[in-house]
Symmetry: C2
Subunit: 241 residues, 2 copies
DNA sequence: TCCGAAAAATTGGCATACCAAATACCAACA
DNA sequence: TGTTGGTATTTGGTATGCCAATTTTTCGGA
């Protein structure tokens, strides 16, 4: 067997149980630009003004100290992800979602998370579920001051993310994370009203109980209805456009 | 009113019923490369050999008659989409999903489609649901010859896509389409066995009945279980790695 | 024949330059 | 003063070239 074949085999898969991942090396400008842009978009009040938010390639490349090429690649990725939209001769703009789109996202989220709850009742360990209860006590939403909207929002999302992790499906986690990103962006507007917090807390507790009881149907339904209520709330009480 | 304002108004929105959309312009090399690569990947028997399938930037740019730059942007997009993975000094490889990942995809699909079914019972028109029945009759899966695996697979997916469209959520449609892409790639292996066709057909019929009855819970459950059975089937009877 | 080191070739990341389309600007004319 | 035609500028798309990290090949010595 030639040396080449041996090397090739090593890389294919670790039949020896030792999978060698190429170390991250030094991050490329492309990834750095991607991260920087996403970070910037995250902390941007997208729905603050109604003016289109434009980005300029050359400007960005100067700020980041790189050429346009890696920036363009990063933009292409974010465009694929649905966060940006590049229009020729017009600029790169941050995509603003319509209320209808946000509602669809929350509905999709409800679908994924309710499935996660179902799977969690079948797969999560008792210990893992117990941790969820701990998290619940620690960040008891009803205790958060009524004016700390962001904190409420964060704690809320933390609970949901923890729940999704219980499913053991990294895909569900990844997909919902993406949805959270968009939904989170309108938290200023949604005013995720604090009077919903009480309801949220009790909902969450009910969900935990259902998980502990390993009641798949009930857990699924509770999660679904809980999130669909948010969708309905946004539909009825949020004005974006 | 000045001429300029008239023109401006015309472009804003067609209150005169004439909406002028900016013409698509000529597709950029970037989009063409993206489409070409995706097309190529689609018709590639990804799980045919166990050898890593490598792509070469320079080779691709020559074939497409463009420079490396737009190809690299297209690759960056496909990488973001999870279809490719570019490793420095090693090449661009088509991502091969593990069985576990495929199963997770089918579970996510089940989540999204069952939600679509629920929404469809609330939103789809009787006519739209009726069309689903038409489609079902036309492509009655039980009639497809037992050796036409691809045809079965296509008809199957067509039914599911039609169902999802009934929900009216373009997001659910987009997300599942992405999942279908990956699941479809293993159709040769899954042998989506034809003996499952009979079951599939009756399942589909039941689903249609539930939709017609506007029974949200039942429609949701039928769709979920139907797809989760596929996940279980893949889990138990498919060997990828 | 085998091994290892050095040289050569690959290859992806990045910078730069150029181009064409589209807009902004401006001056001349009605 | 307002419109118009043309020019300057901006900006995204693409091509090209260089570089550094790696891999592959070569080749001399054991």
């Amino acid at each position: 067997m030639s040396s080449k074949e041996v090397v090739s085999k090593r890389w294919q898969s670790g039949e020896n149980g030792l999978t060698i991942e190429r170390l991250p090396a030094k991050e490329s400008f492309k990834s750095k630009a991607y991260a920087a842009l996403k970070e910037a978009i995250t902390h941007m009040n997208i729905y603050g003004s109604s003016e289109p938010m434009l980005l300029d390639e050359r400007d960005i490349s100067e700020r980041l100290g790189a050429s346009r090429t890696p920036i363009r690649e990063a933009v292409a990725m974010l465009e694929q992800e649905g966060l940006l939209r590049a229009v020729p001769r017009r600029g790169i703009m941050v995509v603003r979602r319509s209320k209808a789109e946000i509602v669809e996202m929350i509905e999709a989220w409800a679908a994924l998370e309710s499935m996660a709850a179902r799977l969690a009742t079948q797969r999560a360990s008792d210990e893992a579920i117990a941790e969820l209860r701990t998290l619940f006590k620690k960040f008891d939403l009803s205790r958060i001051e009524r004016d700390r909207c962001d904190e409420y929002s964060s704690a809320n999302i933390a609970f949901h993310q923890a729940l999704i992790r219980l499913s053991g499906s990294s895909l569900l986690a990844a997909m919902t994370e993406n949805l959270f990103f968009h939904v989170r962006a309108i938290r200023h507007r949604t005013i995720f009203e604090m009077d919903r917090a009480q309801r949220s807390a009790s909902d969450h507790l009910e969900i935990i109980v259902a998980l502990e009881a390993r009641d798949a149907d009930r857990a699924e339904r509770l999660v679904r209805d809980h999130t669909l209520r948010l969708a309905e709330h946004v539909e009825n009480h949020v004005d974006l456009d």
